[in-house]
């Protein structure tokens, strides 16, 4: 196996770690940083560095290395955090992300960004803690202490004793250390033959120790002193080896100092972690160990990583199971003999049905991920955008645990980001302006997600200025759009989604170029959803995105044309009616329109567009299904409505190709394939066919010419 096989795992993990890191950085309270959070950020950087080193991603490794060192100082409280430092950290995180992406695409990361961020981070290190971090091989924390360090007062449970063994050979020393272990907890022991120091914690007196020791060595060879915070002697840098397992620093110290001066002031393993550069007061120094040490065991993983392909395969198989089940169900219900002898079969069938549905639901939920994955990026977006615009914004998220299909979650992020930026830029006013209007200075932006029927409703609400209906109409006229004052608010607000439309008084860095909102709408429609705007002038705007829960299952309306069954997505179906002769009008060319409540809708006869034989050609004998696609309405002529049903969407392109007028296929209860129709595609197809003159004039439609209004 090649090492590159592990690359993907690393990329995935690193991405998750970076996301965690960002979240923690954003949540960090700069005035009173939570040590657990700082630790988490540090650990993330550390893990990425390790991985990057293993796979030879040297630029990423070096960047994380410097970053990690800085974070290490931060978590020990030596670096006072400020919000501008956090911003720099976020920037560093972004650059690491870019480097990661570059490596993923098998490119070299941007050297310029790398050099810059390294410089910036070094600069911070220099200015804030007076230390350079330019020693990639040896993290700064490993350097031994060279100046007095205030250590903690003896723990309540005993005094710390420094036992120095002078001129004791290795063999005896091991023995003595073992003896000392019997007496109390050894906190650390280090040194050489000339002077070996053991720090002992526990209720032992110096006499006791001497009494034990003198079986082996002479009393002169032992020097015992009490160590407490106040009495700590200046540290020479003897090699300090730490016993406490929870602080992974101070191992083999790099710079041995003259042993003659040695007198250790280290009483507690943790304080050894304070590097030489620490020149803060003792009070700070004493807090540090308590802040740095708590390290919970990594919480046990409650999830497993499974490839989407596997999940999709299971979903497919369950879909098959459902189809088989409905086939059986049909067969059983068709049985002539409904007598008692069949009742156990019937019972079994209904049990199977219930279990199969439950199974399907459970399996579908695997693909579902909470909206939190989308929402978690917005604190950053809002922070950055608000900062750029000089606005004060409070972001509130609701319904983070609402679940949505993974493929939708991935696709909703960009449109949502756009809407949020829009709200921040155009919606919420400047703080002073808000104050003048009697609103709180801080604008409120609410992101919410919740279930509504078979859909998910995502809202972006702000308490800004709202949409100015008049200005919108004015702008629409300038742009040559066909509008009237009588239009409903809803229709007017939809103008925002027209291509190239922007009402911003001036184009800003953030938004207002008029590109985007139409893309937002297209993206959302591409997901089978729709977007609505509600707004009250002066009070705010609410943008509502309604999305189906999943793309794998579709609520369909099955229809029959000729002998063939087709599925119309239920979300597109508005109503169905029996066309009356008087409602149909022929237009120039071969077009026919139908009048439905004062609206003329183009008629699309499915049997013509899809060349279905033996279909009902007389419109008055068929059924018109009014459907909506991309904001336009059509009347589809079909023979028969069969009913509503949920269908499993199957891709046609997997083994075949894209078919005009058809969006996908599904498998019906009898095992046969039915095509899912694409409304706008059908309309285009119908036009193309008419232009090519392929559709022979329908004799039935011909005599509507007589009914044409003069």
């Amino acid at each position: 196996m090649d090492i590159t096989d592990f690359f993907d795992t690393f990329f995935e993990e690193a991405e998750e770690l970076l996301a965690d890191m960002e979240q923690h950085l954003l949540e960090l309270d700069v005035d009173d940083p939570d040590s657990e959070q700082l630790n988490a950020i540090f650990r993330a950087a550390h893990s990425i560095k390790g991985g990057a080193g293993t796979f030879g991603f040297s630029v990423l490794q070096k960047t994380t290395h410097i970053f990690e060192n800085l974070l290490d100082h931060a978590r020990k409280g030596e670096l006072t955090l400020r919000s501008d430092l956090v911003d720099t950290f976020l920037e560093a995180k972004d650059i690491m992300r870019e480097q990661l992406d570059a490596y993923r695409n098998e490119e070299e990361p941007n050297q310029e960004a790398y050099a810059r961020i390294c410089h910036v981070l070094q600069q911070i290190a220099l200015e804030e803690i007076g230390q350079t971090l330019d020693a990639p091989a040896v993290p700064a924390v490993l350097q031994p202490q060279a100046e007095p360090s205030k250590s903690e007062a003896p723990a309540k449970d005993g005094t710390h004793l420094l036992v120095a063994l002078l001129n004791v050979n290795d063999k005896d020393r091991t023995l003595l250390v073992e003896e000392l272990e019997q007496l109390g907890d050894i906190q650390s022991h280090s040194g050489d033959e000339k002077r070996y120091e053991v720090i002992l914690k526990g209720n032992v007196s110096a006499d006791d120790i001497e009494a034990v020791m003198c079986f082996v060595i002479e009393p002169e060879q032992i020097a015992i002193s009490t160590v407490a915070a106040d009495t700590a002697e200046p540290t020479g840098a003897t090699e300090t080896e730490k016993v406490a397992p929870d602080v992974p620093v101070v191992t083999q110290a790099a710079v041995p100092m003259p042993a003659a001066e040695a007198a250790v002031g280290v009483t507690d393993g943790t304080s050894a972690a304070i590097p030489q550069s620490d020149n803060r007061g003792p009070a700070k120094g004493q807090e540090k160990p308590t802040k740095a040490t708590p390290k919970k065991a990594a919480s046990e993983s409650s999830s497993i990583r499974v490839s989407v392909d596997k999940v999709d395969q299971i979903i497919n198989l369950v879909g098959e199971l459902i189809i088989t089940q409905s086939m059986l169900d049909q067969t059983v219900s068709d049985l002539d003999d409904q007598s008692v002898s069949n009742s156990s079969l019937q019972n079994g069938m209904s049990l199977l049905q219930r279990n199969a549905r439950d199974l399907q639901e459970a399996v579908m939920s695997i693909r579902m991920i909470p909206m939190e994955f989308v929402f978690s990026r917005f604190p950053r977006v809002v922070r950055d955008t608000a900062g750029k615009l000089g606005k004060e914004i409070e972001l509130i998220t609701e319904g983070k645990s609402t679940e949505l299909d993974k493929s939708l979650v991935e696709r909703i992020t960009d449109p949502l980001t756009h809407l949020v930026r829009n709200s921040l830029d155009h919606g919420i006013e400047m703080p002073d302006e808000r104050e003048a209007l009697g609103k709180p200075r801080v604008g409120k932006l609410v992101l919410s997600a919740r279930h509504q029927g078979g859909n998910i409703l995502i809202e972006v609400r702000d308490d800004g200025g709202g949409i100015d209906r008049e200005r919108l109409l004015e702008k629409a006229r300038e742009n040559g759009l066909n509008v009237s004052d009588a239009m409903s608010d809803e229709d007017v607000f939809q103008l925002i989604f027209a291509p190239g439309f922007s009402t911003a008084k001036e184009v800003t860095d953030v938004s207002g170029r008029g590109v985007g909102m139409d893309v937002v709408k297209r993206n959302i429609q591409g997901m089978g959803g729709r977007v609505e705007i509600q707004s009250t002038k002066g009070e705010g705007t609410n943008t509502r995105i309604v999305l189906p829960l999943t793309l794998a299952i579709l609520d369909g309306m099955s229809i029959k044309v000729g002998g063939e069954t087709f599925i119309l997505p239920l979300s597109t179906v508005l109503e169905s009616l029996q066309p009356a002769k008087g409602d149909m009008y022929a237009m120039a060319g071969d077009d026919v329109v139908i009048k439905v409540r004062d609206e003329y809708l183009p008629v699309i006869a499915i049997h013509e567009v899809l060349d279905v034989k033996n279909a009902i050609t007389d419109p008055t004998k068929s059924i018109a299904v009014i459907v909506q696609g991309e904001g336009r309405r059509y009347a589809m002529l079909v023979d028969e409505l069969i009913g509503q049903q949920q269908v499993v969407v199957k891709n046609l392109e997997d083994n075949y190709r894209k078919v005009p007028g058809v969006s996908a296929a599904t498998i019906l209860g009898d095992g046969s394939v039915a095509l899912i129709l694409d409304i706008t595609g059908l309309h285009r197809l119908s036009r193309a066919k008419k232009e090519a003159g392929k559709i022979v004039k329908n004799p039935h439609l011909a005599h509507y010419k007589e009914a044409e209004p003069s």
């Binding site: 497919n316 198989l317 879909g319 098959e320 189809i323 063939e564 567009v609 899809l610 060349d611 279905v612 199957k650 891709n651 046609l652 392109e653 997997d654 083994n655 075949y656 190709r657 894209k658 078919v659 005009p660 007028g661 058809v662 296929a665 498998i667 095992g671 046969s672 394939v673 039915a674 095509l675 197809l685």
Partner: protein
């Protein structure tokens, strides 16, 4: 050439023996590489696809997978295209796709040595020799060896989107 070298050549030739699935279209016998064949099944329940070429009969449900069905008899302009209990669909795997081809019948599996495979002559408008890997001669039988990969991914079969058909 020494005898050892001769043996090596023979061994290599032995290794290059290929197995073919032989099927009939009208009176003619065709064969495709057996390794491309996934399964053989009956012709049933095919959903028509509108506005597709006539030789594309539609799509069918193969254990949850939507598979297009191509009638090679129509493609090769054979007469007497009938669908009955004997009509057979050979499901093949080409270019990561699953496609069913309708044939009149499947006869047997043949092993052909390289010597038995002759180059295909230039002929035919309906079946370009581009889509043939050769002609197999077996006693008095002649098998038309179809390069099913090339045939089904070709533009004229209209089975794949032209964009993805490089």
């Amino acid at each position: 050439m020494s005898q050892a070298a001769n043996k090596a050549v023979l061994a290599a030739a032995e290794a290059e023996n290929r197995e073919f699935l032989v099927f009939s279209l009208g009176e003619e016998e065709y064969a495709i590489d057996i390794l491309k064949v996934q399964e053989i099944r009956g012709y049933e329940n095919v959903t028509r696809i509108a506005n597709a070429p006539d030789f594309i009969k539609g799509v069918t449900n193969l254990r949850g997978v939507i598979v297009p069905i191509v009638d090679l008899r129509i493609k090769f302009h054979l007469e007497n295209v009938e669908y009955g209990g004997q009509t057979v669909v050979i499901v093949v795997n080409v270019a990561d796709r699953v496609v069913g081809i309708v044939v009149d019948g499947v006869s047997d599996v043949m092993t052909l040595t390289p010597e038995q495979i002759k180059p295909a002559p230039e002929f035919g408008v309906t079946l370009s020799s581009d889509f043939l890997s050769g002609l197999g001669s077996l006693d008095d039988r002649m098998l038309v060896l179809v390069d099913i990969d090339k045939l089904l991914t070709s533009e004229e079969m209209a089975l794949v989107d032209s964009t993805s058909n490089s």
